[in-house]
């Protein structure tokens, strides 16, 4: 599903973020990406949806090589990937329903299809009864669930979550994890960068640990392995 072959990334200011990573992630996997701040976690996940382009090496999503992908083909590629952030990135003037529908409107989906799909995903994240609310009227956990709904409404093959529980209290974080686990069971590959030791150690999944821009550990049912 996702393959990185000897990927390097350095920024113009000469910071070397990724120094030769080769990994392979299969369809339907749930992968934690852990590591200290500044280890290259963020760059690692950003390269998977082509927010950053590798300086050297290849990144394949199925047959598509993100390293050589032309600018004009990026939008089509992005429709196969959902992304969730620590800060939710919702539009405050739009209702819950509209925020999720936005992702389909801008790829010119049919309005009837939009309505059906949005209601379906709102059901998955348990927000069907808050469809008309504005994001600011909701709690942090609920807002993150809107963001997740938006990321998966397009039925992507991969969901990338960059510190999705970073801004949430522990109870709410668990709630988000349950939803992500549920989505994973429905067949979506999930890659989640996180600092949350409890979650990684409790819901056992594959753990990729990155330090100094290299993979230092890759365990099938791993643990966090750092002191939080």
């Amino acid at each position: 599903m996702i393959k990185m072959k000897d990927v390097w990334k350095s920024y113009p200011n000469n910071v070397k973020a990724i120094n030769g990573i080769t990994i392979s992630i299969e369809k339907g996997e749930f992968v934690y990406v852990v590591g200290p701040s500044g280890a290259g976690k963020s760059t690692f996940v950003k390269m998977m949806y082509r927010e950053e382009k590798p300086t050297k090496g290849d990144i394949f999503i199925d047959q598509t090589n993100l390293a050589t992908l032309k600018e004009k083909h990026i939008p089509k590629m992005r429709r196969r990937i959902g992304v969730v952030f620590q800060d939710f990135k919702l539009l405050p003037t739009l209702s819950v329903f509209e925020n999720v529908a936005f992702a389909l409107e801008v790829i010119e989906e049919n309005p009837k299809v939009i309505k059906r799909k949005v209601l379906d995903v709102l059901d998955i994240v348990h927000l069907k009864n808050k469809a008309r609310a504005l994001p600011d009227e909701l709690s942090g956990g609920e807002q993150q669930r809107i963001a997740i709904a938006r990321a998966i409404v397009n039925s992507p093959e991969v969901l990338i979550a960059d510190e999705p529980t970073g801004n949430l209290d522990p109870d709410t974080a668990w709630e988000i994890m349950n939803i992500l686990d549920d989505i994973n069971h429905r067949g979506t590959t999930i890659i989640m960068a996180t600092h949350n030791k409890d979650i990684v150690n409790t819901i056992k999944k594959r753990v990729i640990a990155i330090e100094g821009g290299r993979v230092v550990r890759d365990e099938v049912r791993g643990s966090y392995g750092y002191e939080a």
Binding site: I74, R79, V106, I107
Partner: protein, 297 residues
């Protein structure tokens, strides 16, 4: 593109205009001032050109024949002239006809000349046309030394001065217009930049969920085009009404001074079309300038 999508882009574009009230006002004003100057200069140039070409078409050489010349000598002169190069036509105007023409051209005040019909002081003359207006001077110079020619006359100074004025008006107009076009473009670019900054998050999300770049750009194009077209409306109204007023109220008075104003229509429509075109063009250009920089994926 689907109609529904176009509707969405237009809605977004107009919403943006309203959101940046003052910058919108500034850009529209800049475009309006610029296009007003463009329009005024266009009208000016079109009118001067019209006068120039009507005079140009009219350029003829009057060859006044010596009063003492006999009919044979006049025929001789005619034969000589016919052999010269670059001559289109020659016609003979005898002094009676010359006087009639003079009286006609002066309207009412010409009647005073009726009294001198008996002892007509005018010369018989030939009216010569060169094959092209540019050759008029050359032809006149070859005719002047011929025998029995008292003098030749053609509107040399007048034409040359007119051409200088046309050139001058054109140059000034062009410099002003280009300068103001850039100002207007940068103001439009800035206005749209503000919109883009205000919608940064929205654009970021659109890019993340895979909206095509064209889709993201469209509302900004519409915004730019609207700025340009709205800016064109004011000068079109001013110029349209102003010029038709000028033509209806002063046209007759100006006509006495040997040239006439172009009619208001259809020329005002042509200028209106042109102004809208220029407005939309700099609008699109301005929006492209700012969008390209911001939307690089």
């Amino acid at each position: 593109m689907k109609l529904r999508t176009l509707g969405r882009h237009v809605r977004e574009g107009t919403k943006n205009l309203a959101r940046n009230g003052w910058m919108t006002f500034a850009s529209i004003s800049a475009v309006a001032v610029m296009l007003f100057v463009v329009g005024v200069f266009l009208l000016l140039i079109m009118n001067v050109d019209n006068v120039a070409s009507s005079i140009e078409d009219d350029v003829e050489i009057k060859v006044y024949i010596e009063l003492t010349a006999s009919e044979e000598q006049q025929d001789e002169l005619l034969t000589e002239m016919k052999q010269l190069p670059h001559i289109e036509s020659i016609s003979f105007v005898d002094k009676e006809e010359g006087l009639n023409q003079l009286i006609d051209s002066l309207n009412e005040s010409g009647e005073v000349f009726e009294s001198i019909r008996e002892e007509n002081p005018l010369n018989d003359s030939f009216v010569v046309r060169a094959t092209s207006p540019q050759l008029t001077e050359q032809v006149a110079e070859t005719i002047e030394p011929l025998e029995n020619v008292e003098r030749v006359n053609y509107g040399k100074d007048y034409i040359e001065r007119l051409f200088t004025i046309t050139e001058f008006v054109r140059t000034i107009g062009l410099v002003l217009v280009v300068g103001m076009m850039f100002t207007a473009m940068f103001l439009i670019a800035n206005t749209i930049k503000l919109t883009i900054v205000a919608r940064k998050r929205e654009i970021q999300i659109m890019k993340l969920v895979g909206a095509a770049n064209g889709f993201i750009r469209w509302p900004f194009f519409i915004e730019g085009i609207l700025l340009g077209i709205l800016g064109a409306l004011i000068p079109i109204l001013l110029i349209g009404f102003g010029y038709s007023y000028l033509v209806t109220n002063y046209g007759a008075r100006i006509e006495i001074m040997f040239f006439s104003l172009l009619p208001a229509f259809p020329y005002v429509w042509q200028i209106a079309g042109l102004l809208v075109g220029i407005g939309a063009f700099i609008g699109v250009w301005g929006s492209m300038m700012s969008v390209r920089k911001f939307l690089r994926v």
